[in-house]
């Protein structure tokens, strides 16, 4: 692949990523991510932020090797590693800025200090470390522009910056693991361990060696320079030891914690775990042990690619993917999440190549070398027409086309939420169905029961059948049997009643909710609970207490009036008047009581506003359960 192809591809990804970021700014993070309340951190945070930090670990690893340990063999890769770190941490900053809910508050941790927060510590370390990396790389920039005195001053203090950088890196690389000690119940036990900070720290060293190797190999190939195999093979050897050690500690911890059974559990998480171990430890360590693999460029390129994928998978797992199964939730990253992560990385990649072409990042790639293989576009002095239309070799033209094309294509595939703002899911209810319902007395059950005759054995239904609507307004499987005809009658007949339910014009509704009139749905219970009274009176021995004449049939009509026992049932001064004859009967069914005894009177007394007991209309005073149709078999027959 030529430099131009690579850059075109990067510009393309950058364009798509920028579009996603723009839409995220306009419509909020919810419009472009597939995250949920139970899985609030996903690919963007895991891949675009958490995983990039160990990749940027190359910066402090090589700084320690070269400056502190004086391992001069690695000096050719040192500046590249610093630049890689700078790019990774800048990407972390950019990714984090737009991942958090309120992006302009990314600077708030500077002002609002919370020393107990792991995130607070990490954010400060990363901010300071970005400064350190800038100073370290600034050295090269100053050299390039020949600020000799500044370079001299910097040389004196560079060790202090390097040491500060190493300390800051130690802190935030490990604290990134500490972050997830707070999720002991969410995170799958194969990943959750108190060693997380330590594991995160050592992988960042091992992976740092391999990421700078990967970058060096790719960039040297791209510009036709000879790969620096001597430092790369040395780094390969260190990475092999460190990642091998990591693998031993990781698996050892699982055995010590007695979680070895999970390793062969055959679940999705086990597969994920072994894939991660294979990519981050198994393959890299196994292959890096071979000297001839370490010393040849193509195997090293593949090995480091695999290791980067493996360790990134580890970070993504810890940050969210390995919590999916314990949380009983589902998460498939939206493509916009991939694009934004890749887009930000592409931007960083472009800047990296820009620096490689203009500064002495890798000693083997000098300006003569670059000119021989590829002439980067210098600042074009022509006017815009020349640049865009008359110069067939104009790189700006190709890159602009890639960027615009990416924006166009991405916009075409963009989910509607991202373009128009987040909309509620369309979860249409099944239309209310008209069913034949009977209101009947069922033997052995107190009260009257609404039943759908098709569902019941027709013989047991003795009540009067009528047509009603079955409504499941909140889609939870509980149905309300709605007698439309009765409501028409109660609301004033065919001509006048419609408006009272269908045209109240509340937002989002076609018909008013039942609860706008009924503070609860009506239920299949009597206000008089026969079973309860039986129990209180001592079962079958207690019949005589209410059905006072032992010789007469046990009927409502000859039972003792409620008022004889419940003397305080009707408070003094009540407006409810009960005729002498009604006193002897038992309580009316609740529906009948409300609709026939109360509603009429309340309506006629409406203007007097004298309600004896305002809580009496709370259905929940008596109703303790909702009806629920458990069996779906009847649905097919409707």
């Amino acid at each position: 692949m030529t430099v131009r192809t690579v850059k075109t591809l990067l510009w393309f990804l950058l364009g798509a990523g920028l579009l996603v970021i723009l839409l995220r700014i306009i419509h909020g993070p919810g419009s472009v991510v597939a995250l949920t309340d139970l899985l609030p951190w996903g690919l963007w945070k895991g891949g675009g932020v958490v995983a990039l930090v160990p990749i940027g670990g190359a910066g402090f690893t090589l700084a320690a090797f070269v400056t502190i340990f004086h391992w001069k063999r690695y000096r050719p890769l040192y500046i590249g590693a610093v630049l890689l770190g700078l790019m990774c941490y800048s990407s972390v900053g950019a990714g984090l800025t737009f991942d958090i809910g309120i992006w302009w508050r990314i600077v708030f941790p500077i002002a609002y200090w919370q020393f107990h927060s792991t995130l607070f510590e990490i954010s400060w370390c990363i901010m300071l470390y970005l400064g350190v990396l800038t100073v370290e790389f600034g050295h090269v920039v100053l050299e390039r522009f020949e600020f000799h005195r500044a370079v001299k001053v910097l040389d004196k203090f560079v060790v202090l910056f390097v040491i500060a950088g190493i300390c800051l890196s130690t802190l935030h690389q490990s604290s990134l693991g500490t972050l997830f000690l707070a999720t002991p119940y969410r995170l799958h036990p194969l990943w959750h361990t108190d060693l997380l900070p330590f594991l995160f720290f050592i992988t960042s060293i091992g992976l740092g060696c391999l990421t700078i190797s990967w970058v060096a190999l790719v960039v040297h190939r791209l510009y036709g320079a000879k790969e620096p195999m001597d430092p790369v093979s040395g780094l390969g050897r260190i990475a092999c030891y460190v990642l091998g050690f990591y693998g031993v500690v990781r698996l050892g911890e699982i055995f010590v914690a007695g979680e070895a059974g999970l390793l062969v559990a055959g679940t999705w998480d086990t597969a994920n775990f072994w894939l991660e171990i294979l990519l981050s430890v198994g393959l890299p360590v196994g292959l890096l042990l071979k000297k001839n693999y370490r010393e040849s460029p193509t195997p090293m390129l593949w090995i480091s690619t695999v290791a980067i994928l493996g360790v990134s998978l580890n970070r993504i797992n810890v940050a969210g993917l390995a919590t999916v199964s314990t949380m009983n939730t589902m998460y498939l990253p939206a493509w916009t999440e991939w694009v934004v992560t890749l887009g930000i990385l592409s931007g960083a990649g472009l800047f990296f190549l820009f620096c490689v072409e203009r500064f002495d990042v890798f000693p083997a790639i000098n300006r003569d070398q670059i000119d021989a293989s590829y002439t980067p576009q210098r600042v074009d002095r022509g006017d815009w027409k020349t640049i865009f239309f008359h110069n067939p070799h104009s790189e700006i033209r190709v890159y602009s086309a890639a960027l615009v094309l990416a924006v166009g294509i991405a916009l075409g595939f963009m989910p509607l939420d991202a373009v128009f703002g987040v909309q509620p899911e369309e979860t249409p209810t099944q239309d209310p169905r008209i069913v034949e319902v009977s209101n009947s007395k069922v033997a052995g059950v107190p009260g009257r029961k609404f039943s759908v005759p098709l569902h019941e054995n027709r013989d047991t239904v003795d009540g009067e059948a009528f047509f009603a609507l079955m409504i499941d307004g909140n889609r939870d499987g509980d149905y309300v049997i709605f007698n439309h005809d009765l409501h028409i009658d109660n609301q004033g007949g065919r001509n006048d009643s419609c408006v009272s339910c269908h045209h109240m014009q509340n937002p989002y509704e076609e018909a008013s909710e039942c609860s706008s009139c009924h503070s609860d749905m009506y239920l299949e219970v009597d206000i008089f609970n026969h079973s309860y009274h039986m129990e209180k009176k001592g079962g079958n021995d207690g019949c005589i207490e209410c059905h006072t004449d032992p010789l007469a049939d046990k009927l409502r009509d000859n039972a003792k009036p409620c008022g004889d026992c419940h003397e305080t049932m009707r408070p003094g001064g009540t407006l409810v008047e009960i005729a002498e004859g009604e006193q002897t009967s038992l309580a009316a069914a609740y529906m009948d009581a409300m609709h026939e005894m109360c509603v009429g009177c309340h309506e006629s007394k409406k203007n007097e506003l004298e309600v004896p007991n305002e809580d009496f209309d709370r259905c929940t005073n008596c109703h303790r359960d909702l009806p629920r149709l458990e069996d779906d078999a009847w649905k097919s027959r409707l």
Binding site: P40, L119, Y241, D417, N621
Partner: protein, 288 residues
């Protein structure tokens, strides 16, 4: 420990699942209308429009209802996690949220052991959403929390934690056959301000495994975090020491080479002969 710790005791045996608490909460906190958002499994989940919800527990002896809401832990994970201190534990116990400084990192959401905080994903400028114990209302207006006030059966009651613990123990002792002899929230993750008594086993979380761990959440991260300043210093000393030793050794070697003049046989150790492998160097550095 504070003198007054606002608490709520929910008695699952008394809850009838009427949702009055939910409606009262939505009304008092002026929550937006409930919509079937993409990220909700069910519209009755906790969400930005529902700071408390009633969960139906399927049970052999008839269904039970348990209210979910922020438990206002005595040692809250979310407060510990918050990067800017937008979540604060008040002296009276409730954990309140300052939406003016929240940056939206959502660490509180993954740190909470009960999966309580929710996010208003639907908004361009989203905020964390959770029960605040009607803090202003309780403290300034001297009322009960809206949910408690709305409960028709006194299934959920308000008081100080000491009072309610005593009441819960009284209920457990009065009807030992009825209740499971356990107060949920008394000791989990160091204790919470929201307590439950029940006649069936409860799971306070959304996970399969009920939470029984009594370790306070903040200890899990802070036990590591509080070492960080010393790690910083130690690392600096070690790195500075190694640098100083190697630098001095190289300087001596250089001087030695200069003195030896033409007699020098070859480059001394650690002078960066390219074939030397790193780890050997460092071992020698430590020995010297």
């Amino acid at each position: 420990m504070t003198q007054t710790n606002f608490s709520i005791l929910t008695d699952v045996t008394k809850c009838i699942g009427c949702d009055e608490c939910v409606e009262a909460c939505q009304e008092v906190n002026k929550l937006p209308p409930e919509r079937p958002w993409r990220w909700l499994n069910s519209i009755t989940d906790l969400s930005s429009a529902r700071w408390t919800t009633v969960v139906r527990l399927e049970n052999d002896q008839g269904d039970r209802f348990m209210r979910r809401q922020c438990r206002h832990c005595l040692e809250p994970a979310c407060v510990e996690a918050c990067i800017v201190g937008a979540l604060q534990k008040t002296p009276e116990g409730p954990i309140i949220y300052d939406r003016d400084i929240c940056i939206g990192c959502r660490y509180c959401m993954i740190a909470c052991p009960f999966e309580i905080p929710r996010y208003s994903w639907e908004d361009t400028v989203p905020y964390v959403q959770k029960c605040d114990f009607c803090y202003e209302r309780v403290l300034k207006e001297g009322k009960k929390p809206a949910c408690v006030e709305a409960c028709p059966t006194e299934a959920t009651i308000f008081g100080t934690r000491e009072e309610l613990l005593a009441e819960a123990h009284r209920r457990l002792a009065a009807e030992p056959g009825k209740y499971v002899q356990r107060i949920w929230g008394e000791r989990e993750v160091g204790g919470t301000s929201v307590l439950y008594v029940s006649d069936v086993d409860l799971n306070l979380t959304e996970l399969d495994e009920p939470l029984t761990d009594e370790t306070p959440m903040p200890q899990r991260t802070f036990k590591i975090l509080h070492h960080m300043p010393s790690v910083f210093v130690e690392m600096a000393v070690v790195m500075g020491g190694i640098y100083w030793v190697i630098e001095r050794r190289e300087k001596l070697a250089r001087e030695g080479a200069e003195q030896a003049g033409t007699e020098a046989e070859g480059p001394p150790d650690g002078d960066g002969s390219g074939t030397d492998d790193g780890p050997n160097d460092s071992e020698q550095a430590k020995q010297s």
